[in-house]
């Protein structure tokens, strides 16, 4: 495990053309990492995420992606992801190949990847048109009952990027709260990069906590607020107002470009990004306002 700046972690491990998974289900979405990938101008990425959320909307709109594997592409609680729609409907800024699953299918695919199996099985996709548009969905026959069971090919990202609450100095990473498919995406990856709220001497991890051992972690970058506008349980809440505001910002290509230019390309790092939006606060100030 290497303890790096986020800039260096992305520079070193994220390459054009890779299959990349930024996981975290609503919670702990690695926005800072997604923005750094935009800043460094990565292209032709195959993005994988159950819920693309705003982070992929931004990366797709910024032209980083050639393909997307996903299972639900909305702005949670708000509506559409307009940049994703613009890419799918109009090929802007470039055409986007989509590989579409159900949540259960994606979960099975990550689980299979984590387990080094070539495919995952589920009682899924029954009676739907998804297998018609996603030829990856196939089936096997149960050798005991003769039933037909759906299969999905394992997901094995070149790099998985997560955001987490804590890492210790050996790179052990504590996940806490809503996990989504973080653990499976981590275990399925060839490389694992984690941004964290803090690096500590000893994890605040009770027995049976969800801890990723440091020897599975390629790099850790300490990025406080790295999940904003998503949230980090026990650290800061989801900025629902930003999710609502994004609906307006992202509807229009020019307005989107201006936002990306001002807040992502025009900022040096995540701290500057947070300051540019006026949501940053020093830890001291946080202590007082909590």
């Amino acid at each position: 495990m290497a303890l790096l700046t986020l800039h260096d972690a992305v520079a070193r491990y994220v390459e054009d053309g890779q299959t990349l998974a930024l996981e975290g289900f609503t919670h702990l979405i690695p926005f800072a990492a997604g923005h750094e990938i935009i800043r460094q101008g990565r292209r032709d990425l195959h993005l994988v995420r159950m819920t693309p959320d705003l982070v992929y909307d931004q990366m797709i709109g910024a032209g980083c992606a050639r393909a997307l594997t996903f299972s639900w592409g909305g702005n949670p609680g708000v509506g559409s992801l307009h940049r994703l729609r613009d890419a799918v409907e109009n090929g802007w800024p470039r055409p986007l190949e989509i590989v579409e699953h159900s949540h259960a299918g994606m979960a099975a695919a990550y689980t299979a990847g984590a387990a080094n199996l070539p495919f995952g099985v589920l009682r899924g996709y029954i009676g739907t048109d998804l297998p018609r548009v996603n030829p990856q969905v196939k089936s096997v026959t149960c050798p005991y009952t003769g039933e037909t069971i759906a299969t999905v090919p394992a997901l094995r990202p070149d790099v998985t990027i997560l955001h987490a609450v804590q890492a210790d100095r050996r790179g052990n990473v504590l996940l806490r709260g809503i996990l989504g498919a973080q653990k499976e995406a981590a275990m399925a990856a060839r490389r694992l990069v984690v941004t964290v709220e803090q690096v500590v001497d000893a994890l605040d991890a009770p027995m049976n906590a969800v801890v990723l051992p440091g020897w599975l972690v390629t790099a850790v970058a300490c990025v406080p607020g790295g999940a904003y506008p998503s949230y980090a349980q026990g650290c800061y809440a989801r900025d629902n107002a930003f999710y609502l505001a994004w609906d307006e910002i992202s509807r229009d290509r020019d307005r989107f470009r201006q936002w990306i230019d001002a807040h992502v390309l025009g900022t040096r790092d995540h701290a500057a990004f947070l300051r540019s939006l006026g949501v940053a606060s020093t830890r001291d100030a946080m202590e007082v306002t909590r």
Binding site: F25, T26, H27, T51, F70, W72, G74, P76, G77, S80, L84, R85, V88, E89, E100, S102, H103, A104, A107, A108, L122, R123, G124, Y125, I126, G127, T128, D129, L130, V133, T148, G177, I178, L179, G180, Q182, K183, E184, V210, P224, Y228, Y231, Q233, Y236, A237, R238, D239, N240, A241, Y243, H270, A271, L274, V279, S281, T282, R283, A285, M286, T289
Partner: protein, 262 residues
């Protein structure tokens, strides 16, 4: 005369009443979440709410904006990895009721939440199926919540995101779906239920202030109507007060400014 409640409120109350105490409910965001939590705050205090984010037995004090809000984790009996929710809980047959919305529904309760127009060249790309395909097939039964318009209630779906009764007359069961399928569709005009034999949806209840004709006119196919169409009892004072309180608390909570440490 305008009733002292909105159509959304009536839908939410009608949906909440479908849930029974102790039932295990797989909840989607929006109206299903409001309905399930209204039920929990009224007649079903021991309803078990399961959100796909991995929170089991949550008792949120305010409604989540997203399916994975921190409030859900803080108040849950268990917070488990998402693959467990789909494999052990939903596919495992532990969920009694799944709540689904959609952009389009057909007469057999099949749903489209994926695309309007052709999949490869869509007119409107919708968010997609998410948890719906397996909720639709594996939950003990499904309740659909959807505003009734001819654009939404269509003769033919552009895309089948999740299976209702497919072509009806047992097609669903033959396809291998475990659950009983869409046993109720709660709209803003009334309630549809499948005919036991044909499995085609028919109007069985209407809201107080609408006529059967109006419901039929809001449907994109010739809607079957039950011999006796009952009237859904309007929301009680308690139901309305508790729902509005919940929504007021929710608005206040979600308006709070966020500060992020760095």
């Amino acid at each position: 005369m305008t009733p002292p409640w909105t159509r959304d409120e009536m839908m939410t109350v009608a949906a909440a009443r479908m849930l029974w105490d102790g039932c295990v409910c797989f909840v989607g965001i929006g109206l299903p979440s409001a309905a399930a939590n209204l039920a929990r705050h009224t007649h079903a205090p021991d309803i078990v709410l399961v959100y796909e984010s991995g929170t089991v037995g949550t008792r949120p004090d305010v409604l989540p904006l997203s399916i994975g809000d921190g409030e859900l984790a803080d108040t849950a009996t268990a917070v488990v990895p998402l693959p467990e929710i789909f494999a052990y809980y939903l596919q495992g047959g532990r969920v009694d009721v799944g709540f689904l919305g959609a952009a389009q529904i057909d007469r057999f309760g099949n749903l489209n939440s994926t695309v309007i127009g052709d999949y490869a060249r869509p007119k409107t790309r919708l968010p997609g199926a998410g948890g719906a395909p397996e909720i639709a097939s594996s939950a003990g039964q499904v309740f659909v919540v959807l505003k009734q318009t001819p654009r939404a209630f269509v003769p033919r779906l552009d895309f089948v995101s999740s299976a209702g009764f497919l072509e009806g007359r047992g097609a669903r069961a033959r396809a291998g779906a475990a659950g009983a399928g869409p046993q109720a569709v709660i709209t803003d005009l009334g309630i549809l239920r499948p005919d036991p034999e044909t499995e085609e949806l028919q109007l069985v209840e209407r809201f107080e202030d609408v006529t059967v004709e109006r419901v039929v006119a809001a449907t994109g196919w010739p809607l079957a109507v039950a011999p006796h169409v009952n009237v859904v009892a309007p929301p009680t004072g308690d139901e309305l007060r508790i729902l509005r309180d919940l929504q007021a608390r929710t608005r206040a909570a979600h308006a709070r400014a966020i500060r992020v440490p760095y």
